[in-house]
């Protein structure tokens, strides 16, 4: 039997390449081989990131509580603003998509009615709606919510439709045999049976919403992570741009991990899970 690599060995392999690249990057930047405006040293990015994240007022127990103070820096505000937009836009897009998807999946009539229109609209990337969104809603949060909800809408819709359409007929038979019909059949059998697809749709939808929020913030609003990195560009703060990008990556990772955890819990009955 072959020896399975230990956790430590695997960790070593995993960090080998990143550490090497960081070291190389740091050296090149310090030697002045690359201009710091183009690529600042990782250490500089790191300190900039700390500066971006930390509170700038000194702590005063009389004025605020510790938690509020701790998160009073620029980064937490930006991250919160972006997250709230994702959440709001996602809800505005995903809830109607879920309802419509369930109806389209369950009724051939509704499917035939809506499907052509959806096939025409679906290939238009949400980003292509930016000019219209600004014309319709002006600047600020409304166009951002519009764009984000559009981004979340289609993945949720399409997955919900196929979820309902792929429900095992045998389960429906079994349920009808046990006396279920009408809305009981729908709520207790079709909906949970479609859940794996629906959750996939929600997860993809959040992912798209997160992409769109960054774009929307670069164009229509002046807060949030997307706005911040564009603002940093105007001052040629490449270190802050990269610090912002890293924050975006971390936030995206957090959202996706959370979604995946929720899915995992909701689908613990599914045979795909251990």
């Amino acid at each position: 039997m072959k020896n399975r690599p230990s956790f430590l060995t695997k960790l070593l392999y995993a960090i080998l390449l990143p550490v090497f690249l960081l070291a190389l990057w740091e050296t090149l930047a310090r030697q002045g081989i690359i201009s710091p405006h183009i690529l600042p040293a990782p250490s500089r990015v790191f300190f900039r990131w700390i500066d971006y994240a930390r509170p700038h007022e000194p702590y005063d127990a009389g004025k605020t509580n510790f938690i509020a103070w701790f998160f009073s820096g620029e980064l937490p505000h930006d991250a919160l603003a972006s997250s709230m937009r994702v959440l709001g836009g996602f809800a505005i897009g995903a809830i109607p998509a879920l309802v419509l998807g369930l109806l389209m999946g369950a009724s051939t009539f509704i499917y035939r009615l809506f499907n052509p229109l959806i096939q025409i609209l679906r290939p238009i990337p949400p980003i292509a709606y930016i000019p219209l969104a600004i014309l319709w809603f002006g600047l600020g949060n409304p166009p951002a919510f519009f764009l984000i909800s559009l981004g979340a809408f289609f993945p949720v819709l399409m997955n919900t439709i196929s979820g309902v359409r792929h429900v095992d007929r045998l389960l429906i038979r079994a349920a009808r045999n046990l006396g279920a019909n009408g809305h009981t059949l729908f709520l207790r059998i079709i909906l949970p049976a479609a859940m794996p697809y629906i959750l996939t749709g929600l997860r993809v939808g959040v992912g798209v919403a997160f992409i769109v929020v960054i774009v929307a913030e670069m164009i229509a609003v002046n807060s949030g992570l997307g706005y911040r990195i564009l603002e940093a560009r105007e001052f040629l703060w490449s270190d802050k741009i990269i610090a912002g990008m890293i924050t975006i990556g971390l936030l995206g990772l957090t959202i996706d991990t959370a979604m995946s955890r929720i899915n995992h819990h909701l689908l613990r009955w599914h045979s795909g899970h251990e």
Partner: protein, 284 residues
């Protein structure tokens, strides 16, 4: 064992009258059932036996109300069958358990549909879990159960609604031989204890003799009743007894005749497959 007088004194549970079922896919027509007449009495254990594709499931689905006959009538429990219903509990070969419900929730499902009080449901579920030796699995999901256990849950789920009859479509077909025998014994015990009428579909000859009061042998295309063979042996039946073996020979030759026709038809029209069947199935 049922003697003739006993059967006559019982009331009919299912009456099948001149039932035909034709499936048409494109320009092809398959006569799945033709002129089926059969009466099944209350408390009887009837096995429907025949080679693959002879119309056993079609017949059972007509009784269950999943797919109605093209012509003819089916009466169950004194009423004409029009829809599926919990008075005709169905057990499927593929178990058809709801995977997102635990064992206990699966068994409770039909009772919840009937809107029984929570306390009653809990008691009934507990009784069934105990009787079918499922107690330690009550909070497991179906994916964590073996085939035999899954089929116990499916049986318990049907028994919970206390239907006068159970319809079983090759329920033990996916089990290994040893588990199958255990489940057959278990089913006979349940049959005696709960006094159900059972209509059981199989293509297993030994299984049919082991279980049935009467074996209904079907022909292949068109699906008709070839012969009804009563099994008048005391239970538990000894599969190595001379009577058992001679019945087995008799049934084997009956089924083999049909099996040969099946082979010949398959050779003449290759390429028919399951997907074609699925598309034509009406949604019920």
């Amino acid at each position: 064992m049922n003697d003739a007088k006993n059967i006559l004194s019982r009331s009919p549970q299912v009456i099948i009258k001149n039932v035909d079922k034709v499936f048409s896919s494109g320009d092809k027509e398959v006569i799945a059932l033709k002129e089926i007449n059969l009466t099944i009495y209350s408390g009887e254990f009837v096995v429907i036996l025949g080679p693959s594709g002879c119309g056993k499931s079609t017949l059972l689905n007509a009784i269950a109300g999943f797919s109605l006959p093209t012509s003819g009538k089916v009466y169950a429990n004194g009423e004409e069958v029009a829809l599926p219903g919990p008075d005709r509990g169905m057990v499927f070969q593929e178990y058809a358990l709801f995977p997102w419900m635990t064992v206990a929730e699966n068994i409770a499902f039909g009772l919840e549909i009937k809107k029984l009080p929570k306390q009653t449901i809990r008691e009934k579920v507990d009784t069934l879990l105990t009787k079918l030796q499922l107690l330690e699995f009550r909070d497991r999901f179906p994916k964590d159960l073996s085939g035999g256990m899954k089929q116990r849950v499916a049986i318990a789920r049907v028994l919970a609604l206390d239907p006068p009859m159970m319809l079983m479509d090759e329920p033990f077909g996916a089990l290994d031989a040893l588990t199958r025998r255990t489940m057959q014994d278990e089913l006979l015990r349940i049959w005696l204890e709960f006094k159900k009428t059972i209509i059981f579909v199989t293509h297993g000859i030994e299984e049919s003799i082991y279980l049935a009061d009467r074996v209904v042998v079907m022909t292949y295309r068109p699906g008709t009743i070839k012969q009804i063979v009563p099994v008048e042996l005391y239970r538990p039946r000894d599969v190595s007894s001379p009577q058992f073996i001679s019945l087995q020979k008799e049934l084997t030759s009956l089924v083999m005749e049909e099996q040969m026709r099946f082979r010949n038809e398959e050779m003449r029209e290759p390429g028919r497959d399951v997907s074609e069947r699925e598309e034509n199935e009406q949604v019920t």
